[in-house]
């Protein structure tokens, strides 16, 4: 199968290891990615605080491009991006006047019809059973703490994905591949990535709490589906060690890393060797 792909800025920049991982893993599953031609930033981090129309128009243009190219489904591996796209979709849906107005602004007709999927949903689409059949090794050595962060499931009215406070979808997928996910308390807590620059103290504390609880519950790695979470929890471990005198050394995987490993891909092919904390 082939689906539309919206990388967003992070996957083409600081988190290009995530893109490597997603592409390698999905290609092993015969899921082709067709990158949206001429996509632009979805504006998720700042647009809404500057100008409401802009915050709809940016993602609306990306949706319009998908429609133009006949993409029924659009993968946005970054939950900030998928959230922005879904919010725009919801706003456009059932508001003919807004659709018209947006159409004029972005100079493209837009209905908001493309379905926006996050990374977990792509795996669900591909079929957990199918992935399991294709797996060449089991993940039995992995006891991951699945970390959804604050954005993947929220706000539930928009994402309509899993249980907002008690999600289970990553656990289901990884258990099927032999891993033993731990039950822990910080699945949907904020890691503070948005305040990395502004309030580093807070961020370190939040990251420390998350990493500590994961360790306390017996996890030997963390699994994320968000470039921001990854960069924060992976890169900041050194600072956490300096601040709290605890060196967690907790490997932080993207969900696609673990699925890729199960499918027999090498860590290098998945970009795992480019993480800060490595085995």
């Amino acid at each position: 199968m082939e689906i539309g792909y919206y990388p967003g800025c992070a996957l083409h920049g600081s988190s290009n290891d995530y893109e490597t991982s997603v592409r390698a893993c999905l290609s092993a599953l015969d899921v082709g990615l067709k990158e949206l031609d001429d996509w632009l930033c979805c504006g998720a981090s700042a647009a809404h605080s500057l100008n409401h129309k802009l915050s709809v128009a940016l993602p609306a243009r990306n949706l319009a491009l998908a429609e133009r190219d006949g993409m029924a489904e659009l993968l946005a591996p970054c939950p900030m991006c998928s959230g922005a796209l879904l919010r725009a979709k919801a706003a456009l849906h059932g508001d003919a006047r807004l659709r018209e107005e947006m159409g004029e602004i972005i100079e493209l007709p837009v209905a908001g019809s493309a379905e926006v999927l996050n990374l977990v949903q792509i795996f669900e689409r591909a079929g957990i059973e199918r992935i399991r059949e294709r797996a060449v090794r089991t993940l039995e050595d992995y006891r991951p703490a699945c970390y959804y962060g604050c954005l993947l499931t929220r706000p539930p009215q928009t994402t309509r994905f899993d249980d907002c406070e008690q999600p289970r979808s990553m656990e289901s997928l990884l258990s099927a591949l032999g891993a033993e996910p731990v039950d822990w308390a910080f699945r949907t807590e904020c890691c503070g990535a948005g305040m990395t620059v502004a309030r580093e103290e807070t961020v370190l504390e939040l990251a420390h709490r998350i990493l500590s609880d994961a360790a306390a519950r017996g996890a030997n790695c963390l699994v994320v589906a968000c470039p921001m979470c990854h960069v924060n929890l992976d890169m900041k471990q050194a600072d956490v060690a300096r601040r709290f005198a605890v060196n967690h050394q907790m490997i932080v995987y993207y969900l696609s890393d673990l699925v890729g490993l199960a499918l027999g891909l090498s860590p290098e092919a998945l970009g795992v060797d480019r993480h800060f904390v490595v085995r």
Binding site: R160, E165, A185
Partner: protein, 666 residues
Amino acid sequence: MARIGVFVCWCGENIARHVDVEAVASGAATLPGVRTALSYKYMCSEPGQALIRRKIAEEGLDAVVVSACSPHMHLRTFRRAAEGAGVNPYRVEMANIREHCSWVHHDRGEATAKAADLVRMAVAKARLDRPLEPICVPVARRVMVVGGGVAGIQAALDVADAGHQVVLLEREPSIGGKMAGLSETFPTLDCSQCILTPRMVEAAQHPNITLHTYSEVEAVEGFVGNFRVTVRKRARYIDVDRCTGCGQCWNSCPSKKNPSEFDYRLGQRTAIYIPFPQAVPARPVIDKDACIKLTKGKCGLCAKRCEAQAVKFDDEDRLVVEEVGAVVVATGYRLYDPRTPAAADGISGYGEYGYGKYADVIDSLQFERLASASGPTAGEIRRPSDGAVPKSIVFVSCVGSRDPAKGLSYCSKVCCMYNAKHAMLYRHKVHDGAAHVFYMDVRAGGKNYDEFVRRAIEQDGARYHRGRVSKITEREGKLIVRGVDTLAGEAITVEADMVVLAAAIRPAEGVERLAQKLGVGYDAFGFLSESHPKLRPVETNAAGVFVCGACQGPKDIPESVAQASAAAAKVLALFSRDELSRDPEIASVNELTCAACFACERSCPYGAVERAELRNGRGEFLKRTARINPGLCMGCGTCVAVCPSKSVDLDGYSETQVYAMLKSLT
């Protein structure tokens, strides 16, 4: 030809200022069927009414049109006046030339022309009014009270004490309801069972009360004054008349580890059991899913021990028909299950609070059992997981309540009070324990209520945090409660040994089905709808059906009891009459032309349309037809609109009349 009198009111200057009342009257005098038309300063005054009566007598009038204010204001007045002079009250019409004319149109010419039109329409309608007699139905002076909690017991006793028969229905094996399981009650801290159990016994022993426990309403037929309620008496496997309640059976039952419903699963009971020691009736039931004899065919120990030979393993559900004149619904409440979505919109419940996952996260009714002297811990506060005495408890308010995002937008009303009570009881029992209460607002409206909450905080040292709890997790045997104190503006974390969730109050399971059987409306949450929120708080839109207690909305004990007595008073008022008379402006079917498609049956909001057969004098079948039960029809006329052959008509608003009104304007 009709002999109509038209009486045009000036309403002092109210009408006369903008409407030429003389011209309206003289115009009306020329209309066909009108014998006399005159105007008067105040038609509704006694001299005005006397004028109408005199003219009826003088002119031999058989219909009256009063051209004055809104019929909602004075139609009843003028109907009475006309009736006094021998005119059928349903041959009185009003033309509303005040609210709909003189008060809103100030151009005298236009207002007068419109007033003349309105009179013309009223005269056209009056010409075709049929004399109607109020519908009289006999009243069965017997009431069924559905639900044997404190509200149901109160209503039953009030009616029974007034000398009428009562059938009291309870779904559980014993009456007593939720109140029987409570520990102590706010704001007096008197023992719940001590005040309730004497009332339970009184109800059971009352000569005017028939008790059906372990029973539910199966079907309802009939209408106000004449309901036939079919009751399903569930198989109890005990011959209640033989049983002496000695207890040999439940003391010998080997199936002991069944979760107790009465203790909300915190305690255990045998397969043959009474729910609690003071149960009324003190007769056991057998849980057929737990009984070894009924599931595996072996055992039967209870039957062997029973000297009265009251155990009947071959018992079956029985249907009993009760004929009653009124029904009081007092089905009470249940608590919201925090694990589940409150509404079907895909938004999950409060999984993050860990209810059902962590043994020591319980709901407030479970806490009542822990605090109750008759409860599973004999009144000691011990946590479910390991029986240890908790050194700190967090009480969480508004779990489900006041949270439109999760589906329940309303306030459950009693939680603020019982949270204070729980904190207080806990501190009384565990002196060094810490009681934390997370709350949105403290709503303590009621006599001595706010003082009670203050006492919990100031004397008993409950720690109140204004804010909500975001998540509860467990670490090393402690419950980690994370929340926010919005007054201090900071996130707080409390390490607790136990958490008590004040889950929202919801109507009892299945109340919608009961409401549908009775024809009572209910809101989006399933609470039953009263006729009028202020003026008819215990009546419903189904005549003869009344509501009281928490089935109508969240309520505490005093309110439930007050409402129960109010419902009883309404029942007694109904029973004070030999016959009921109802407004006869209802629908009827021309059975000869009815095509029996039953569109009317599907459309009737009251289930007043029946499928009937038309037979000739010799009883031979002629045809099928729809038939309207005059006892149930409320006269909305929806059936008239959907009948394709126009075989239904509505008295007082008949087809002919509406057409004639239209024609009068051409």
